[in-house]
Symmetry: C2
């Protein structure tokens, strides 16, 4: 059992390569709610860590912290009416995500096409102009 169950703010900051300020900011806007020691220092549970990980994934994908909040909060709804609302919202998000994957595939195709053209162009140029020595 190598898994730690508690983390300090700088441990998490280092692990995820972000600043402590960023983590504090996420708490400030209610994205994280770590416990505190008697000395008032933050202690992050494994759940907190998992949540942070999710937040950062969302960020890499270009979601705003508001959008991320809406997604991570899906984990803790409990009232039936809220569950129904959340399900609807979640389905919308899922569609968006699928669209996004599609758009990324298109972008990928575009870049691949450019790549081909550049390689062609380069061949021509090198052919015409003779080799420049390294």
């Amino acid at each position: 059992m190598k898994e730690k169950k508690e983390y300090t703010i700088s441990e998490l900051a280092k692990e995820f390569d972000i600043s402590p300020r960023t983590i504090r900011y996420y708490e400030e806007i209610g994205l994280l709610s770590p416990k505190r020691t008697k000395g008032n220092q933050r202690i992050f549970s494994r759940k907190d860590r998992a949540r942070l990980k999710l937040i950062l994934r969302g960020k890499r994908l270009g979601f705003s912290l508001e959008e991320i909040r809406e997604m991570v909060e899906m984990y803790e709804v409990s009232e039936p009416e809220q569950i129904r609302v959340t399900l609807k919202y979640g389905d919308k998000r899922l569609k968006e995500i699928e669209e996004r994957i599609q758009e990324l595939e298109m972008l990928k195709e575009d870049l691949l096409a450019i790549r081909e053209r550049l390689i062609e162009r380069l061949k021509e140029l090198e052919g015409k102009e003779g080799k420049k020595e390294k």
Copy 2:
């Protein structure tokens, strides 16, 4: 032949559901370079329009305008050395895009898992509590 070849700023703004200000801003930072009429008003060619489309796709995908600039500029390199640099850069971008697709798939799985759990939970609650009429 239904295709227009020139557009005004508000036509494009309407078509893509953005503000004219946004388009002007993109010109301001050099992402677009429309021609002008004698009266100094912007006229956008089909190329300009295509470019704007690309920019907006990049935005939806969460890229910064700087990143987008680097990508759209790949279209117009011509010097051999620049082509080589661009190719390297493009390959990096392609890898990033593939990673991004992976992460989106993961996010999708997460959301699907939450969805399942919510549906289960809802079934339980509705079962226990009897049906509330609409």
